[in-house]
């Protein structure tokens, strides 16, 4: 007896259709799984065996061969458990095989026969729709996630017995959401940290607003305990909510990486803060999968690198190209996976190794030089704003908060609308120098030229200053860049990058 069940495997961030073929033959009782399965898939043998028996089904005393086709694709994870069990039930005649034809089956089994949620349900559902199937059977906890795919029926199941009832036609399909109807469940639980909780820091908050409005990468520099991390954590709260396409993309990534199993659409820009010991492949993706890294998990959101100078050089180097291109392609063996990395980078660093900076600094000159060197790498070239964060004064701490995230978010959204409405539809952080130059008023251009000729601003620094000035003009609702905007932009570059001044020396 032969049975076929459709399931989906992950290939990078894309679904790949996998047919689970189950064949029962006479011979010594055994269960063999073939078809480039990794350890979690091969272990499903034990789970399937126990789950079938503990759900009151027979485990056929035959020679059972399970083949995962196509054979050349690597299969990972426990999502094939349920399909394998259904295949055995159908092949041994315990459920009718007809219904399996139009449905995909996705889920992990426990030994007791319960169906457990597992990562990647959204991608599997997208695959099922693309393959023209009428529906997908998913764990109950993943139903709202799979339900995000329009035009696909979703059957939510809690146990193997539920699936059997469904296939026999003795139970109705539960949890399916008709396409395009109903309120989308939100995956955004809990309250985001808000700028209304912050006292003082007016200068840094203004810089965050500019960075968020233009999608600029930002470096916060200040002594420990001044609030760099606190400020960075509030950046997502001033970014506009994700639109439909972006939200689906982020939800898919979070589903695959297991950041969020189940739940609905992610509307909030993600915030990722990897520790500085992270490797290059942890940051941009890698491994034999290959699997996406932190930069991809922060796609459409904020990637926060605290203690930037402590990160390994190779990790920071690896991040440079993805930051520039908004995507990274990882090639491992025969597979090439493309992961999106459209992040806003927020980095934080101490002004010097001892952390105090300025008068109170106790570092030796050599320490300072080493610190500057670590920061002066090519990554610094991608940071548009270099902002000093200071310990708030007593008066500032006693004063009411400067602003709230809601107000800032509204201004950011308005400025972004202006940018996206221009030809090209890019945020200012990505537009070309030529386009910027056209928008400069003569006075602003003359000012920038004067600063450049003094040698305190590199050519690249000049372009970055223009980009930031463009965003400042957008926040002010002005069509072109005026002297005031350039002056403020210049103030948001805390000294020119040390590497350039050393070269000039």
């Amino acid at each position: 007896m032969l049975a076929r069940v459709t399931c989906f495997a992950l290939d990078g961030l894309r679904p790949r259709r996998v047919t689970v073929e189950v064949d029962l033959r006479t011979g010594l009782p055994a269960l063999t799984i073939v078809g480039r399965a990794d350890a979690a898939v091969r272990e499903s043998r034990e789970r399937v065996h126990s789950a079938l028996l503990n759900s009151g089904f027979d485990f056929p005393q035959r020679r059972i061969t399970v083949n995962l086709a196509p054979a050349q694709l690597r299969k990972q994870g426990p999502g094939f458990d349920l399909a394998t069990a259904c295949g055995i039930l159908a092949a041994s005649g315990q459920v009718p095989p007809e219904r399996l034809a139009g449905w995909a089956v996705f889920g992990e089994l426990s030994l007791g026969g319960e169906v457990r949620p597992c990562a990647g349900a959204l991608v599997a559902a997208e695959g099922a729709r693309a393959a023209g199937l009428q529906g997908i059977v998913v764990p109950d906890a993943c139903a709202s996630e799979a339900g995000l795919v329009a035009g696909l029926r979703v059957a939510a199941v809690e146990s193997l017995a539920d699936v059997a009832a469904l296939l026999r036609g003795t139970a109705p399909v539960k949890g399916g959401r008709p396409a395009g109807a109903g309120v989308e469940p939100s995956a955004d639980a809990g309250v985001l940290p808000d700028l209304a909780d912050v006292r003082g820091h007016a200068g840094a908050i203004r810089a965050l607003e500019i960075a968020a409005a233009g999608g600029h990468n930002l470096l916060l520099s200040g002594p420990p305990g001044t609030g760099k991390t606190m400020l960075a954590r509030r950046v997502p709260s001033i970014l506009p909510a994700l639109d439909d396409a972006a939200a689906l993309e982020v939800t898919r990534i979070h589903s695959i990486t297991g950041l969020r199993v189940g739940g609905g659409l992610v509307r909030r820009p993600p915030f990722r803060a990897p520790h500085h010991t992270i490797s290059a492949s942890g940051l941009v993706g890698g491994g034999t999968g290959p699997s996406p890294g932190e930069a991809t998990m922060a796609h459409h959101g904020v990637l926060f690198l605290d203690e930037l100078s402590e990160f390994a050089r190779p990790a920071l180097e690896a991040l440079r190209q993805p930051l520039e291109d908004g995507a990274v392609t990882i090639v491992r063996g025969q597979t090439a996976s493309r992961f999106p990395t459209g992040v806003m980078l927020v980095a934080a660093t101490n002004p010097c190794p001892c952390g105090e900076g300025g008068d109170a600094c106790r570092c030796t000159a050599a320490d300072l030089a080493r610190h500057r060197r670590r920061l002066s790498g090519p990554l610094l070239d991608r940071l548009d704003l270099l902002v000093a964060v200071h310990r708030p004064t007593a008066a500032e701490l006693a004063a009411p908060p400067v602003t709230s995230s809601q107000d800032v978010r509204a201004r950011v959204a308005a400025a972004r609308d202006l940018q996206l409405g221009r030809p090209g539809g890019l945020l200012n952080a990505a537009i070309s120098a030529d386009a910027l130059d056209l928008a400069m008023r003569p006075g602003a251009r003359a000012l920038l030229r004067e600063v450049y000729e003094r040698g305190t601003l590199s050519a690249r620094g000049q372009v970055r200053t223009m980009r930031v000035a463009r965003t400042i003009a957008d926040l002010a609702g002005t069509p072109d860049i005026a002297v005031e905007h350039v002056l403020e932009a210049l103030g948001l570059r805390q000294a020119e990058e040390p590497a350039a001044t050393e070269r000039a020396a």
Partner: protein
Amino acid sequence: MSACDDCLRRAWLLRAMSGHLERGRRQGGVLALEDNQLIEALGGATREELRRRHAGFDPAAARKLVAAAGLASRCRHGGPFPGGLQEAADAPWAIFVAGRAEAFDALAAVDDVAPAVAVVGARRAAGEGEEVARSLGQELAAAGVCVVSGLALGIDSAAHRGALSVVAPAPDRGRPPTVAVLAGGADVVYPPSARGLYAQILRAGCVISELPPGTPPRKWGFPARNRIIAALAGMTVVVQARERSGSLITADLAMQLGRPVGAVPGPVTRPLSHGTNALLADGAHVVRDARDVLEALLPGHALPQTPAVPALDDGLRAVLDAVGDGACTAGELAARRGVAVAEATADLTRLEMVGAVCRDGAGRYLPTGRIGALL
């Protein structure tokens, strides 16, 4: 023109005894000793070997080495030599010059102490320190005074840079805008990160040392170098120094030579100002800008006309006053003046561009006390 045989022999002896001098660096006055006394005092077990090599010194070969390194040599026994360098008991013998040798000779062109001023201070300067050193260097060079310093990071480099920034120095007897004195050979750039500055100084002025080419710097060489700085300069100005600082050694040596010493005052709470404030308490000249230096150095001389400083407009003047009053970040300034942070940042940039304020290592704005031309 070159240093005499005896002086060259002395220079090579110092190099051969560099290790001995390192171990004996706590003993004062060894550099005032004659060659044989020096070998006797510090030579230890290698005295015989040192004496033998000292006697067998080959001046011609040494001159070849100096020329091959692209250096010139000078000494007090022939040709022009700065008078100031001959006064002390432990005055240097040979001087090796990298860069324009005629620039060094020009320092000797005046009979008395050449109008040169040493501007020295902490390597790890903070706040307005480097800015003060830079503007002192610039204004002194513009007034035709040669700025002498040690090429160290921080104050020294800032003073050199300031002097080099004078596009057209006063055409004053070919005197260089700046001279760097090194603790190793004149061709050994120390610190190595000052390569760029070193090259600039070579083009405009010269770099000098009493040690033969290729000698790596050692600890004993730094106080020894400081004595050359103090001797070469008519006045020594310390910009920022902690309580125990090499710059104070330079100031001490200058006082022993009877030269005026100046110091830039700083807040009493700041460790970087303890050294300079202590000098002031001991009677050093108060140095606020280059005019104070020129008045102490050349009393009664007509001071060079400084260009009239156009006043800041009232708005920026008020901003500058607020910064001077302690509003050192854009946020504080905005709160104090009741304006938006954007406007405060733009105002601070305006002041920064005219040189009225600068930023310290932590990004705080500090007044420089100097106001350039308004935009």
